[in-house]
């Protein structure tokens, strides 16, 4: 086996490591998890001036080799070669933010003191110069005793010099471990080195504090935040629609194509009703996820995200969480899957677990079709009250209440969890507020592509499998000719059993049947109700009848309300369970989540149904 050369980027968070990594490796990146932990391992291939490839990893940002978070733990163990299956990188590239030199030098000294081949990338020198800071790399190199290369990752400045330095880093004579220093000593040294290397220093980051004065303003700050959120939601829901419709159109064309190409058979039904319907129903959410992640990545890259966390921290602290949980929960309004993936930025493990467990209660976009159909069928289209010309509609009010019910439920559960299963010292909120920066399109594109790929891969594996299994359940054993297939199928039998359980909360067998395929994706409940009622009615004229009319005929208002209450809480989504399993590394927490959410859904639907019946709406 040939010995592959390896190098790793290390540095404080916000040193511009990712931008440098993207610039050095291009789009040839591999994203995976480190074994046994949910810390992302980013690796790519860079090329030395000689043409020789080097595997470059982007280690999680760290403030010190004494870990205070899972991220820092991984960085430390990789550098020390203590992570099983992960060789210690041959060359360490310490990335420094030139405009925050003194702070970043503290960690740099700790890394350099290990005595491994090390190169320093003095990054973002252009931003430092914008802030009136001129640094002499030669002076820094003399003080640190390792090569220092000035770089501007986003403008590809200094990249070939950096590659050249990495190429020869291992040829330098072995250095002896330098004497161990403690944090206080390193800080003093950092101050002295920075002092000596800074050629001139004028105004302090003016733009940065000006923007903070607006974004962190006691009342303008929240106003800007909510305006931004409004834009993001508008874009996610409205902007994604044409793309989602186009995708749905392709799925339909594909389905029609398969129908035309294959003779009628079970195999054909498996492809169209099983695979294409199931996977298609999930893939149409890709535009929403891409748009949502575009905003999240852009806000993150600009430095604004940390300000949003700052503004929301006090409210989150009220339920035992911190500002860091805000963004993952916000993302969960589009879809809990990216939301749960975004919890990786939460340093405290118990905070993170709590956030994962409550994320499914944020009303995701897949619930919207279910809500919309039921509300349209059962809630009268009239205004509750008028404010001049503006009327507040009852239907909109019910929809709003469903969203609020999810949020309030999540907050209460967070409080309970923090006092029981995720009990621990109230987590603090300590977070660097990074400099504002213009997000770069190329970095956004790389990030978006990776997120979209993760989502599609899941659709191609887990959701594919679930769709096929559901189809098999619905189609076997075969019904005798002339008999109802649904009733004869395994799913029908399960639904009949399930109906006994859900009858007390006002659900009939049709609902029980719809709940089974809705496990794959919530909105499937709508299509399966439509199928059931379409199949059930033999009258030709009725088949074309709007679903709303069918529902009104078969359901009472109390049942409809209970159904809505059920969907506020029910963990009706396999992808969420799967991503929770991956992010918590085991089945224990997804099982817990499934159990408590079904419990909540049952109780909520039950209370709704019984109250409605008591009020004479049954």
């Amino acid at each position: 086996m040939t010995m592959r050369r390896t190098a790793a980027l290390v540095g404080n968070p916000n040193a511009g490591k990712s931008a440098l990594f993207n610039a050095l490796t291009g789009a040839r990146q591999k994203i995976a998890n480190y074994p046994g932990v949910t810390v992302e391992r980013k690796a790519g291939r860079m090329t030395l001036p000689s043409g020789e490839p080097v595997e470059l990893t982007d280690l999680p940002g760290s403030y010190s080799l004494h870990p205070t978070s899972p991220d820092e733990e991984v960085t430390r163990r990789v550098i020390m070669g203590e992570l099983p299956g992960e060789d210690s990188p041959h060359v360490l590239v310490v990335v420094l933010d030139a405009s925050n030199l003194e702070q970043h030098l503290v960690f740099a000294q700790e890394v350099i003191a290990l005595g491994k081949p090390t190169v320093v990338a003095l990054n973002m020198v252009d931003l430092a110069e914008r802030d009136g800071l001129v640094i002499d790399p030669a002076a820094l190199q003399a003080a640190l005793g390792v090569p220092v290369i000035a770089t501007v990752a986003v403008r590809r400045r200094g990249l070939s010099e950096l590659a050249a330095a990495i190429a020869v880093a291992e040829e330098r004579p072995d250095e002896h471990h330098r004497p161990f220093t403690d944090m206080a000593e390193r800080r003093l040294t950092a101050h002295a080195i920075a002092e000596a290397a800074i050629v001139s220093e004028t105004s302090r980051h003016r733009l940065h504090s000006k923007l903070d004065r607006l974004f962190l303003h006691p009342w303008l700050g929240p106003a800007v935040l909510f305006a931004l959120l409004f834009i993001v939601f508008q874009a996610v829901f409205a902007g994604a629609k044409p793309f989602a419709d186009a995708l749905q159109g392709w799925v339909d064309v594909l389905t029609a194509g398969v129908r035309a190409a294959m003779p009628p058979s079970l195999a054909r039904d498996l492809v169209t009703d099983g695979v294409l319907a199931g996977v298609g129903a999930v893939v149409v959410f890709l535009p929403q996820i891409v748009i949502l992640f575009f905003f999240i990545l852009a806000l993150e890259a600009s430095g604004y995200m940390a300000r949003a966390a700052f503004l929301m921290d006090r409210m989150m602290a009220g339920v035992g969480l911190s500002g860091r949980s805000f963004i993952p929960l916000l993302s969960s309004f589009a879809c809990a899957v990216p939301g749960i993936m975004a919890t990786r930025s939460i340093t405290d493990p118990k905070d993170r677990l709590t956030t994962i467990l409550i994320a499914p209660m944020m009303t995701c976009s897949a619930r919207l079709p279910v809500y919309a159909v039921i509300i349209a069928a059962f809630i009268p289209h009239r205004d509750v009250w008028h404010l001049g010309a503006v009327g507040i509609g009852l239907q909109g009010l019910v929809l709003f209440c469903l969203y609020v019910a999810g949020i309030v439920g999540a907050m209460v559960v967070a409080l309970v969890l923090r006092a029981s299963v995720t009990k621990g010292a109230a987590s603090g909120f300590i977070m660097e507020l990074p400099k504002y920066q213009m997000p770069r399109l190329k970095d956004l594109a790389i990030g978006l592509f990776q997120r979209a790929w993760i989502f599609l891969r899941r659709a191609g594996t887990i959701i594919f499998t679930v769709s096929v299994v559901l189809w098999l359940l619905l189609n076997f054993p075969r019904a005798e000719p002339g008999r109802d297939q649904v009733n004869a199928s395994l799913a029908g039998h399960i639904a009949n059993g399930l109906a006994v359980v859900v009858r007390p909360i006002g659900f009939n067998r049709d609902i029980a049947l719809a709940l089974i395929p809705a496990m794959a994706a919530r909105e499937v409940a709508v299509s399966s109700l439509a199928t059931t009622y379409a199949v059930a009615s033999n009258d030709e004229s009725e088949t074309g009848h709007a679903l709303a009319g069918q529902l009104q005929k078969h359901w009472s208002l109390a049942t409809a309300l209970a159904f809505l209450a059920w969907f506020v809480f029910a963990p009706q989504c396999m992808s969420t369970i799967a991503v929770t399993r991956r992010e918590t590394n085991g089945w224990a927490w997804p099982a817990f989540m499934l159990a408590y959410l079904f419990g909540l859904a049952y109780v909520a639907a039950g209370i709704t149904y019984w109250s409605a019946v008591a009020l004479g709406l049954g």
């Binding site: 205070t68 925050n100 944090m183 302090r204 903070d212 700052f310 603090g428």
Partner: protein
């Protein structure tokens, strides 16, 4: 005076920190961010809601968000 009482914009130096009051990991994180005895700090912003929590503290060329309970463990002297 403790750091949480420092008026916005006024520069001060941390003269003592009651580390045992803080969780060990939080203490480590604060120190790693340069918030330690001897650091020159100022409060740039305060939160929105009750108690004006959290605080945005400038230290060197960096701004760090922390909670009031952390700031209460830090004794500062006006510069």
């Amino acid at each position: 005076m403790t750091l949480d009482l420092l008026p916005i914009g006024q520069r001060a130096r941390i003269v003592a920190v009651d580390w045992p009051r803080l969780a060990q990991e939080e203490a480590q994180r604060l120190r790693a961010l340069g918030i330690d005895v001897g650091a020159r700090v100022a409060i740039a912003h305060r939160g929105v809601f009750a108690g004006r929590d959290p605080l945005a503290v400038t230290v060197g060329r960096m701004t760090v968000a922390l909670r009031r309970m952390h700031a209460m463990a830090m004794e500062v002297e006006s510069d």
